[in-house]
Symmetry: C2
Subunit: 417 residues, 2 copies
C-alpha cells in the first residue's frame, strides 16, 4: 500500500469512527477520558522510556535549550495532563444542545442542534503533550481526530496515542476515533491536506511557516492563527497607575506568547507624564523600548522603524507610539495589527464603548491586560487554539468551537407548495 493510500485509509477509518462517536452518550465519552487519566498514571515508566528515545535522538541532532525542554514529558507534565483530563470530564458536553427552536407558520417546528464537526486533523510541532490535550477535547466534543505530530516527538506520540486508543476501546468506543500518522515522512502531510472528503477541518499548531504551508495546501477549511501583534492604547483619561500595571503585565508576564503586548499606543496628552513612569517599570523588568520620534524625545530610547509596528517580538522588546487621538489609535490598530487582542485603558465612558465597538479584533478589552485572551482565562474551560481568521471561530476555541449545528424539523405531513 502506498503512503497516499495509507493516509486515505486513515481518513476513511476516521470518518467511520466519527459517525459512531457522534451519537454516543456523554457518559461513555467521559468514561473513556477517566480511563485515560488512570492509564496515564499507570504508564509513567512506559511514557518516560518512549520520551527518552526522542530526547536521545534530539540531543544527537544537536537540539538543546528551550526546544529540547518542550520535548520533555516530565512527571509534572504528566500530572498536568491527568489534572487537565479531569477538568475536561467535568465540562458540559456541547453535543445535543438545542441552541434555538421555533415554529413556522405551517406549524413545522424547526430547531438547531449542536453536532460534532466530524473529523478533525491536527498538525503540530514538538510538544508531545498536545497529542493528549488536543485529542481529548476532540473526543469530548464527539469528533474523530487524526494527529500528525513533529518527527522529533515520534516515539512519545506513538506511546500516548496507543494509550488513547486503549482507553477508547475500554469504553466501547471505536479506536479509530484517535489515530496518529505513523510515519515521519513529510509527504504524509501533503496527502492529509487533500482529504477534503474525509477531514472536516484542519488545525495547524506551530510556527508561521507550518501554518502558511497548511493554509496554502489544504483543500478542507483550516482554523489558524498566524500571529499576535497586540496593542494597549493608553487614553488621555487613563488612570496612569492602572495603565502602568496593565502595560507591564501585558508585556512581561509571559513575553513569548501571542497575547503579549507588542505595541503600546499613548495619547499625546498623557505622554510626558505616563511614558517616564511606565518606562521605568518596564525597564526594571528588562524591557527594551523602541519609539516614534516623539517618544524618543521624551525617553531617549531607540527609534522604531516602520517594520517595528508590524513586529511580533515575542520577547522583551516593545514598540511605543504617541498618537493624537483615539481615532488615530484605532487606525493604527487596523493598519498594523493582526486582529488578535487590543486593550484600551481609559476612564472615559464614551471612548471605552467606542473602542469596544470599532476595534475588530478577536478580543477587545477595557481596563484589563491583553494576556486574558485565552480559553481558560475567558471561562471556556478549555482551549484547542486561538483563531485569528473569522470564519467559524474568532479568538480562543473551546469545546463549542469543535461543534457545528444542524437543523432539525418536526412535521405532521407538511409539504411545500
Amino acid at each position: 500500500m502506498s503512503l497516499e493510500q495509507a493516509i486515505r485509509e486513515l481518513g476513511d477509518q476516521a470518518r467511520q469512527a466519527s459517525i459512531q462517536l457522534a451519537s454516543v452518550s456523554s457518559d461513555t465519552k467521559d468514561k473513556a477520558l477517566q480511563d485515560l487519566a488512570q492509564r496515564l498514571n499507570d504508564s509513567r515508566e512506559e511514557i518516560a522510556s518512549a520520551n527518552q528515545k526522542d530526547l536521545d535522538a534530539a540531543e544527537l541532532n544537536g537540539v538543546s535549550g528551550a526546544k529540547l525542554d518542550r520535548l520533555r514529558l516530565t512527571p509534572q507534565r504528566i500530572d498536568a495532563l491527568i489534572a487537565g483530563l479531569h477538568d475536561v470530564v467535568a465540562l458540559p458536553d456541547p453535543v445535543g444542545e438545542v441552541t434555538r427552536m421555533w415554529r413556522r407558520p405551517n406549524n413545522l417546528q424547526v430547531g438547531r442542534v449542536r453536532i460534532p464537526l466530524g473529523v478533525i486533523g491536527i498538525i503540530y510541532e514538538s510538544r508531545p503533550n498536545v497529542t493528549v490535550e488536543a485529542a481529548v477535547l476532540c473526543v469530548k466534543a464527539g469528533n474523530a481526530v487524526i494527529l500528525r505530530g513533529g518527527s522529533e516527538a515520534f516515539h512519545s506520540n506513538q506511546c500516548l496515542a496507543g494509550l488513547l486508543q486503549e482507553s477508547l476501546q475500554s469504553a466501547g468506543l471505536p479506536s479509530h476515533a484517535v489515530q496518529l500518522v505513523n510515519t515521519t515522512d513529510r509527504t504524509a502531510v501533503s496527502h492529509l491536506l487533500k482529504l477534503e472528503e474525509q477531514i472536516d477541518v484542519m488545525i495547524p499548531r506551530g510556527g508561521e511557516a507550518l501554518i502558511r504551508f497548511v493554509a496554502e495546501n489544504a483543500r478542507m477549511p483550516v482554523l489558524k492563527h498566524y500571529k499576535g501583534v497586540c496593542h494597549v492604547f493608553v487614553d488621555a483619561e487613563a488612570d496612569l497607575d492602572m495603565a502602568t500595571s496593565i502595560c507591564v503585565n501585558a508585556k512581561v508576564q509571559r513575553p513569548g506568547v501571542c497575547n503579549a503586548m507588542e505595541t503600546m499606543l499613548v495619547h499625546k496628552q498623557v505622554a510626558s507624564d505616563f511614558l517616564p513612569q511606565v518606562a521605568k517599570a518596564l525597564q526594571a523588568e528588562g524591557v527594551t523600548l523602541k519609539g516614534c520620534p516623539q517618544t524618543v524625545d521624551i525617553l531617549g530610547c531607540d527609534l522604531a522603524t516602520e517594520e517595528d509596528w508590524y513586529e511580533e517580538y515575542l520577547d522583551l522588546t516593545l514598540a511605543v507610539r504617541i498618537i493624537d487621538s483615539m481615532e488615530e489609535a484605532i487606525d493604527h490598530i487596523h493598519h498594523y495589527g493582526s486582529q488578535h487582542t487590543e486593550a484600551i485603558v481609559t476612564d472615559n465612558y464614551g471612548n471605552a464603548q467606542s473602542f469596544l465597538q470599532r476595534v475588530l479584533s478577536s478580543l477587545v478589552l477595557v481596563n484589563a491586560s491583553t494576556r486574558f485572551n485565552d480559553g481558560f482565562e475567558l471561562g471556556l474551560g478549555a482551549e484547542i487554539g486561538i483563531s485569528t481568521s473569522r470564519l467559524h471561530a474568532f479568538g480562543p476555541m473551546g469545546l463549542e468551537e469543535l461543534t457545528t449545528t444542524k437543523y432539525i424539523a418536526y412535521g405532521q405531513g407538511q409539504i411545500r407548495s
Copy 2:
C-alpha cells in the same frame, strides 16, 4: 497595472470599506438598501438595455433554452429584486448582538458580540440577479463584497453593480463596499483566490466544477455546497398516505434543485403496500423509477446500479431501495448521502427521535418534505446559499451566517497572575 495588481487593489479597497462598514448603524445600511430599491425601479430601461447586450451576445454564441432564460432580467425579475430588498430591510441587523455575557471570578465581564465577517468574495455563474441578491445580504450584515459574475452576464452585472455603488454613496457609505471584478479574463479568479489577507471567505455559487476549482485553489476559507443526494425513509410504521404525499412533493415539486429527493428508502414491512401506491402517484407526474432487485420484483421498474445510489439526478428520476430496518436506512444515508437533507416518515416516536439524532445531515426532518431545506422556508428570512461543509455554517445560510463573533471584556484594572 497588471491584472494581479488590479485584483489586489480591489481587495485592499474592500478591506478598507469593510472596516468602515462594520461600525455603521443599521439605519444607514437600510437607507442604502431602500435607495437601491428606488434606483432599480427608476433604472429599468438602463438595466434592460445592458441585459439585451448580454442576451444578444449569448444568442450569437448559440446559447438557448434554460441557459438563455437564466440570463434574462425580465420586468418580473426586477420586481422580485425590489420586493426582496424591502424584505431584507425589514430583517433585524445581526451585527452588535451580544450572544452571551458572563462574569469571571476576577470580576472581568466577558461577552461575545456579533461582528461582520469582513470581506466576502462571491464567484457565480449566469444569473445576474445574484449580483443584487448576494451583495444586499452582505451589506446588510456589514460586510464588503467582491463579486465575480459569469462572463455571459458581464454588461448586466456592470449595470447592477453601478447602481449598488450609487446607492451606497447616497447613504454616505464607501462605494468600495460592493465591487465587481471588471474583466472577463478567467485568470482574475485565480488572483482573487490568493487574497487571503484581504478576503475573509469565498462563496462559490454554481456548478460542481466551479465549486471544486474554488475549493482546491482558494487560500481563504470557502463556504460551499457540492450536491444534494436527499433521502426520504418510509418507516414500517409510516402513515402511507402521508408518505406518498411527502415523497411526491419531495421529488416532483421542483426536481432540478438540491433539496429534491433523489433516493427513496422503504421499510420491507410496508414495501408491498406502499410501493404500488407511491409508484402510481409518481408515475402520474412523469417520474421514472429505478429500484433494487426487490423493488423491481414488486414494480417491474428498471434495475438501479451501484452508481444510482450516489446520483443527484436533478430530474424526474428516482432511485428506490427496500431496506430491512431503520439501522440499514441510516447506514445507507451515511454511506451514499451528501449530508444535505433527509426525512423519515413514521408514527413511531422512538424511531423519529433516533433518526433526528443519528442522521448528521444539514437538515433532518420527521414527517415533512425535504423541499423545506431553504433559508426562507426554515424562517431565516434570507438565504445566501446552503453549506454542506460543516465549518461555520451547515445548511442554509442567512444573515447570521454572514457574521462572526468577537469577545469583549469590561475590566477594572485586571492583570494576569
